[in-house]
């Protein structure tokens, strides 16, 4: 059964004198435990799509179903990690991490222990009583990840979680996230504009078009790569093959765009 279904979803942003069609006619179906990467140029509507899946903005057309329920009405816990960490600067790390439970009024000693354990798992010790501004960017990103995981969400929506990090931290976090998701058998949607990251982490890659955002192509990641941790799959021969394929198609699209544009100019 499909875990998350998008059925002809479109989204318009309206303003007083204008509107933008951010998404056009998007359909997809994600199985439980699957890891999807959304790849596409800046402004193609990746964040918009993720917010719609999270039920935070309401799509203007189509249907979004989570385990058969409309996304707004679903009781399912969703873990949504925004493009930046958005830790609350006036809350300590532990309070930031326990934000979800606080909202749902179910903070327990057990959850607190789980929070500390998760923080330790992502390599953060003795930070619980610090404030976000005392942490480095990478550390904050990891805290945001723990905040997303603490509610034990069934589906994780990750919006470029590693984009602001240095390469090494990024690789480490990729492995960590991938490992956590596999262990707990989570469904995940990862937004990225890094082709390598998409290949190394996901099971399927959705390539998006701009203006309006739509799905251009779907790539299946070879099984050999899916079963490796991201760091090792980056070294696999099949990684390079898929990378080149996607790269070339992107290039082709770019030059197509230019070819269309030039006569107009």
């Amino acid at each position: 059964m499909s875990f998350l279904t998008l059925d002809h979803v479109s989204h318009h942003y309206f303003s007083k004198n204008n509107y933008t069609k951010a998404l056009n006619n998007i359909s997809m179906s994600v199985k439980e435990g699957e890891f999807i990467a959304l790849l596409g140029p800046s402004g193609c509507g990746k964040s918009t799509l993720l917010s719609i899946m999270a039920g935070i903005i309401r799509h203007t057309e189509g249907k979004v179903l989570l385990q058969g329920d409309e996304v707004g009405e679903s009781e399912l816990d969703i873990g949504y990690m925004l493009q930046q960490d958005y830790l609350f600067p006036w809350k300590t790390i532990i309070d930031n991490v326990l934000l979800g439970p606080k909202i749902n009024r179910n903070i327990t000693e057990e959850l607190k222990e789980r929070a500390i354990k998760l923080l330790r798992e992502v390599g953060l010790n003795n930070v619980t009583l610090k404030y976000p501004n005392e942490l480095s960017g990478g550390m904050r990103q990891r805290v945001a990840l723990v905040r997303t995981l603490i509610n034990d969400p069934k589906i994780l929506l990750l919006d470029e979680p590693f984009s602001a990090l240095d390469y090494q931290t990024k690789l480490n976090l990729e492995d960590l996230v991938s490992d956590l998701l596999k262990t707990y058998h989570k469904t995940a949607i990862l937004v990225t504009h890094d082709i390598g990251e998409a290949i190394a982490m996901s099971d399927r890659i959705f390539m998006m078009n701009t203006n309006p955002g739509s799905i251009a192509k779907i790539y299946d990641v070879p099984l050999e790569l899916r079963n490796e941790i991201p760091f090792l799959s980056r070294r696999h021969p099949k990684y390079q093959i898929l990378f080149d394929k996607i790269w070339n198609e992107l290039e082709a699209k770019e030059s197509e765009k230019k070819a269309v544009k030039i006569p107009n100019e």
Partner: protein, 266 residues
């Protein structure tokens, strides 16, 4: 020099700077009063109109000694503090109401603009007619003069909070009210705190003007009374007391500010 010594010499520098500033501050204060005293003694200014520090302080001391000043101080302080508190809290509450409904905020917008632009003390007579010539209208003056500014400042601070904090909360299923409590209100805290300081000053203006208009007691009344009976020593003495009280209140608010910033997450 080793690190420790460098640090100590830096600290000595800080202390020295502090001393220099204090000396200058005292110099200005003392020379102001000395000049005033001298000007008055040598008739550079009319001592009947401008009095002199020695007479002002004599008056203050005798009024404190026979206790007649205390009721006036008490009344004015009471009115100012109440006006300040309800003005600030009222402003925050109205801002919260405006925030809770975008439509309500838009409906109220022109009224807020007019009310804000209006010189509030001009409403004095109306307040007196409506609330009677007593504490109530004076407190209302202190309130009315600070409430609109507070509303506008706090409301715009609410609106400037990064909407992504709300997104984070909504992804956990937070209600609008929970978003307000967890993100909007604490994020706007610095703006609210900065209105406190402004409001201290404004409440004093409102209350003193209110007392000019109606009262039979209070420091504002003493000023007007002194003016009417040509007792400018009394006017000056009241001014000095007001200045001292307002400064103390300001300092207390500053302390409150520091405490609030530290304990933002309650």
């Amino acid at each position: 020099m080793n690190d420790r010594q460098l640090f100590e010499s830096y600290q000595r520098g800080l202390k020295r700077e502090k001393k220099i500033i204090l000396v200058w501050q005292l110099t200005i204060l003392i020379s102001f009063f000395a000049l005033w005293e001298a000007a008055s003694r040598f008739y550079w200014i009319d001592p009947l109109l401008f009095s002199s520090p020695s007479r002002v302080f004599q008056l203050i001391i005798s009024r404190f000694a026979n206790g007649t000043i205390f009721t006036h101080i008490q009344i004015t302080l009471f009115e100012t503090i109440i006006g300040f508190i309800i003005g600030t809290i009222g402003g925050i509450l109205i801002a919260t109401m405006l925030w809770s409904s975008a439509r309500f905020a838009k409906v109220m917008d022109p009224y807020l603009v007019v009310f804000n632009a209006m010189p509030k003390v001009a409403l004095g007579p109306i307040l007196i007619v409506a609330l009677g010539p007593g504490y109530l209208s004076i407190i209302a003056m202190g309130f009315i003069i600070s409430v609109i500014v507070t509303t506008l400042v706090v409301f715009s601070a609410f609106n400037e909070v990064d909407p992504n904090y709300e997104k984070v909360l909504r992804s956990f299923g937070a209600t609008r009210w929970q978003c307000f409590r967890e993100a909007i209100f604490p994020a706007a805290m610095p703006a609210m705190i900065s209105t406190l300081k402004v409001n201290v000053g404004l409440s004093w203006v409102g209350v003193i003007v209110g007392e000019y208009l109606v009262s039979k007691q209070g420091l504002g009344y003493l000023i007007i009374y002194g003016f009417q009976v040509f007792d400018f020593t009394l006017v000056m003495a009241s001014l000095v007391i007001i200045a001292i009280l307002a400064a103390i209140m300001y300092k207390l608010v500053e302390k409150l500010e520091k405490w609030l910033i530290k304990n933002r997450n309650i």
